[in-house]
């Protein structure tokens, strides 16, 4: 049975198998969508691929936030909205500094509210808050062993609902933040156009946009097509042939690599991968893989688990800031309520389970899941546009997302046999 093969063939074979059936199916499905899109729709493939990358970078940090709790044995952190709320608070507080009299007590500071410094200041406010919230979440989760995920879900829901009340009464002064009626409370969606919209996505900028020489040089390296920040992808191809060709047409492809956001995310992935090889990272993994083993070699298992929740909540806060700069809005109130679920699904789709996850799973999972979501919606919409049933059929991608997303989580839950019998 065991015939000798060259090591390279063997390596490739192992790689193919190791990638997992589920992921191959998704890859195949993606290709089918792309082929369908290329042949039967007017969709601009270049723009579509660009969008996939944007969406991947946009959601990547949030998915990455789930990694450490799984490694440390806390399972899937459905309490992610807690971190998201912290990130949003940081963002809103930062933006308020553009007002004439921030919160009625401070002085206006363009520095703290706009541009790179504003984006970083949002982090500076959000991160300590997230660390505190993560500590509390970790402490709670540590005390409810066995029900971590349930409690996580409700902590997340509770945090969102509680913040809803607080958003309504916050005394913001900025005209862009405040509710039009009432004079206090924050709006449902806050436009961040003039602050730091797509600041990561569009890094590096061109020289015309005021970039420094090295940045502009980088810009030219990654300049695949239309790079105008706002019009990216809006340039309409003149003919179908042009649209189908995704080989960079300088003007029409719309293909766009969000270099900054991908770098930011992949950099964080790299840092986390490095962290997992440090002494404390190794200890955290051991605590998750076998707590008894870890305890027997003197690792303080609860401390590791709490630390993983702190890291997760902080990454969740960063994640929503990255997400929002790409999206162009801060979505407040109940918008983040369901965010944990697709994020979790992406991680699981990447090949992780309730007990095992790696940076590789994060990267692959985000890329595949977000590509699936990004491409299926416009393709299906175009395909069914002329059908009498368009209004119903256009829901198909969303329905499919519900089924895939929750099916993947259900599958992961049912795969590990329950502890107590």
């Amino acid at each position: 049975m065991s015939e000798s093969k060259s090591p390279i063939v063997e390596k490739i074979r192992e790689g193919v198998i190791g990638f997992g059936m589920a992921r191959w199916i998704i890859v195949a499905f993606l290709f089918i969508i792309w082929i369908v899109a290329a042949l039967w729709t007017d969709e601009n493939l270049g723009k579509m691929f660009g969008d996939c990358l944007v969406r991947t970078g946009m959601n990547g940090v949030l998915v990455l936030a789930l990694l450490l709790p799984v490694r440390a044995g806390n399972g899937l952190n459905f309490g992610l909205p807690l971190g998201i709320v912290c990130g949003l608070i940081g963002g809103i507080i930062g933006m308020e500094f553009a007002a004439e009299e921030p919160f009625g007590i401070f002085a206006t500071s363009e520095f703290l509210s706009r541009g790179w410094s504003g984006f970083i200041f949002a982090h500076v406010v959000a991160l300590p808050l997230a660390a505190l919230c993560g500590l509390a979440l970790g402490w709670l989760v540590e005390r409810v062993r066995g029900q971590e995920m349930m409690v996580g879900i409700y902590v997340g829901f509770g945090a969102i609902a509680g913040m809803c009340v607080i958003w309504l009464v916050i005394p913001v002064k900025s005209q862009e933040l405040v509710l039009p009626i009432g004079g206090h409370g924050v709006r449902q969606t806050v436009l961040i156009d003039d602050y730091y919209t797509r600041i990561l996505d569009h890094w590096p900028r061109s020289a015309e946009e005021g970039a420094s020489a090295p940045e502009a040089l980088l810009h030219r390296v990654f300049d695949f097509g239309t790079m105008e920040p706002v019009e990216a992808g809006n340039a309409k191809p003149r003919t179908r042939a042009e649209a189908r060709s995704w080989v960079p047409h300088r003007k029409y492809t719309g293909f766009f690599v969000p270099v900054g956001v991908l770098l930011y995310w992949l950099g964080m992935c790299g840092l986390l991968a490095l962290f997992l090889r440090t002494r404390i990272g190794v200890a955290m993994t051991a605590a998750g893989s076998n707590p008894d083993f870890a305890r027997s070699i003197g690792i303080h298992v609860p401390r590791m688990r709490i630390a993983s929740m702190v890291a997760s909540t902080m990454l969740g806060a960063v994640g929503i800031l990255v997400y929002s700069q790409s999206y162009g809005f801060y979505q407040l109130y109940k918008a983040p309520l369901w965010m944990a679920f697709p994020t979790v699904a992406a991680l699981l789709l990447g090949g992780a389970s309730l007990k095992k996850a790696s940076v590789f799973h994060v990267i692959i999972g985000t890329l595949l899941f977000q590509s699936l979501l990004t491409t299926s919606l416009p393709v299906v919409n175009t395909l069914v546009k002329d059908s009498a049933y368009a209004s119903s059929l256009s829901n198909l991608p969303e329905i499919a997302r519900l089924i895939i997303q929750n099916g993947v989580i259900l599958y992961a839950l049912s795969r590990v046999t329950g502890g107590r019998k």
Binding site: T278, A283, A286, S289, D292, F293, S296, I297, G298
Partner: protein
């Protein structure tokens, strides 16, 4: 001949597990109204015999058994515990099979509840018939009275003291109307002295009511007080059987332990030249709350450079000693390592004091099963000794020194060679290895910490003969050549006697006595049974 057939007869019972003979033709006869003590060390075959008697599925799943079981003269073959119970065999469990939130009556009648007649819900069988509470409590009352337990049948189990639960179990068995044979499995283990007294009285009384009782215990003194006859098993064989009058505590103890001359799988060591003298580990009043293996006030002095054995029957606490010393279960008392007081309940402190542990729970505590061999060996070293790390090893950054995979791999490769670990390579997951090779990895992971004291629990459990010898040889080598002090805990007395300098027998959570390896069998037997030597 018109004398009634015995209540229970086991005739030539033979059982193999995967080619391993665990019972080789055991006979046992139990007359009506007789209390018959069944004795033997761990692994002598008592539990397998009980599994066969109760028709436990595990027996059929592993190929059934040879021989015959006869109940009141009629051959029976039970396919499940339920059938055995229906056939009139009952068991009083060591761990209580009671539902805490139910009343005494509900527990006594569990799944045998008397039901009221129904007309409407007939199609549903018994499912929707109401419980007849009156009958339930009356029956429970009767059973409680039968064992003279003055207790309301309406009380919740959770409100009862632990000692009473054993009696509720007995009442439940007695309540089964057809009960002919009742098995008591270590019934006095969790009882106070007074309660144990009462229990023995109840046993006598039940026997007088005509129930045949099979009494499994390690307390020989109890055997001598209540049993009518005795059967002793050793290594799957019946080595002695007869009326109590023909035996004595000493005789039983000796017969139970008796050295089997044929099994010489383990090396017998030559005496060493000089005896170790200085004390390396001083244990006083050690109490360890390890479920099922609790230690209750144990004193020990371990000398530097010796191999010290901890023996005794299962459940008596020998396993708890090493676990307590390593800080894995809540521990009290005083432990001095090299004269310095050890902070208890802190695994890290124990490790830093130079102790290293090979756990009896190889797959649970010992290894991370889906990690590779190299990581299993390296992780403890990284954590405890900051080995295999690059970058900062001290100061506040020391947690962020990172893992040197090459060094860890080199080390793993050298250990694989030295311990002869059969594997495809250092990156193979330990879960895929055989038991013996897993144990070698456990040893490697203990040795990587360069300990002064190596605690090894059940090092040869569940591994094959070749690996056994290698493991024991390695322990001796480490001891003789590297001066390592070894504390070895084992259920196999033979094994302890072949490598240890001194052997302590732990009984009921205390050291019953310390013996040299060449002490006579009877002394070991007596210590195990809690008798003074």
């Amino acid at each position: 001949m018109t004398s009634p057939p015995p209540a229970l007869e086991l005739d030539g019972i033979r059982k193999e597990y995967y080619g391993n003979v665990v019972l080789q033709g055991v006979d046992l006869t139990l007359a009506k109204g007789e209390i018959h003590a069944l004795l033997g060390e761990n692994g002598a075959g008592k539990s397998t015999l009980m599994n066969i008697l109760f028709g436990m599925p595990v027996i059929a799943e592993t190929g059934g058994f040879d021989g015959e079981v006869r109940l009141a003269g009629a051959p029976v073959a039970f396919g499940s515990p339920e059938e055995a119970m229906a056939g009139g065999i009952g068991m009083v469990h060591q761990e209580f099979m009671l539902i805490p939130g139910f009343t005494v009556a509900e527990n006594i009648k569990l799944n045998r509840e008397p039901l009221r007649p129904t007309k409407v819900f007939k199609p549903f069988g018994n499912a929707l018939r109401r419980l007849d509470e009156g009958v339930m409590h009356a029956d429970a009352r009767a059973s409680l009275d039968r064992i003279h337990l003055d207790l309301s049948s309406h009380v919740l189990i959770s409100a009862l003291p632990v000692g009473h639960m054993q009696f509720i179990e007995i009442a439940r068995e007695v309540d089964k109307s057809a009960i002919k044979v009742l098995v008591f499995d270590e019934p006095t283990a969790v009882l106070t002295e007074g309660e144990a007294e009462t229990l023995l009285g109840i046993m006598r009384e039940l026997a007088e009511q005509g129930i045949a009782i099979l009494f499994i215990t390690h307390r020989l003194e109890e055997v001598m007080r209540v049993a009518d006859s005795v059967t002793i098993l050793r290594d799957g064989q019946r080595v002695w059987s007869g009326p109590k009058q023909e035996t004595s505590v000493e005789h039983i103890a000796e017969t139970m332990v008796g050295r089997d001359l044929e099994s010489d799988e383990v090396p017998v060591l030559a005496a060493r030249d000089e005896k170790p003298q200085t004390t390396i580990l001083e244990v006083r009043d050690l109490a360890v709350a390890m479920p099922g293996e609790s230690v209750r006030g144990l004193d020990l002095d371990i000398r530097r450079g010796e191999i010290f054995g901890l023996g005794g029957l299962a459940g008596q606490g020998k396993i708890g000693v090493a676990n307590g010393l390593m800080g894995l279960y809540p521990t009290t008392g005083s432990v001095k390592v090299n004269g310095a007081e050890l902070r208890l309940n802190q695994p890290r402190e124990s490790l830093n004091a130079g102790m290293s542990f090979v756990s009896e729970d190889r797959r649970g505590v010992g290894l991370i099963l889906d990690e590779s061999i190299e990581m299993n060996i390296a992780i403890p070293a990284v954590e405890v000794k900051s080995k295999f790390l690059r970058g900062p090893r001290s100061g506040w950054l020391k947690s962020f020194g990172w893992f040197d995979g090459t060094a860890a791999r080199r080390h793993a490769e050298s250990m694989i060679e030295r311990l002869d670990i059969r594997t495809m390579g250092p990156s193979q997951a330990v879960g895929r290895l055989s038991g013996g090779n897993q144990q070698k990895v456990c040893l490697a992971r203990a040795m990587v910490l360069d300990p002064d004291i190596l605690l090894v629990s059940e090092p040869t459990r569940g591994i094959d003969v070749g690996a056994k010898k290698l493991v024991l040889d390695l322990l001796v080598e480490l001891n003789r050549e590297h001066g390592l002090t070894v504390i070895m805990t084992s259920s196999e007395l033979m094994e302890l006697r072949s490598v240890c300098d001194r052997i302590a027998i732990v009984t009921e959570g205390k050291v019953a006595g310390i013996l040299p390896p060449d002490a006579p069998d009877v002394k070991f037997g007596l210590l195990m049974s809690g008798e003074a030597v």
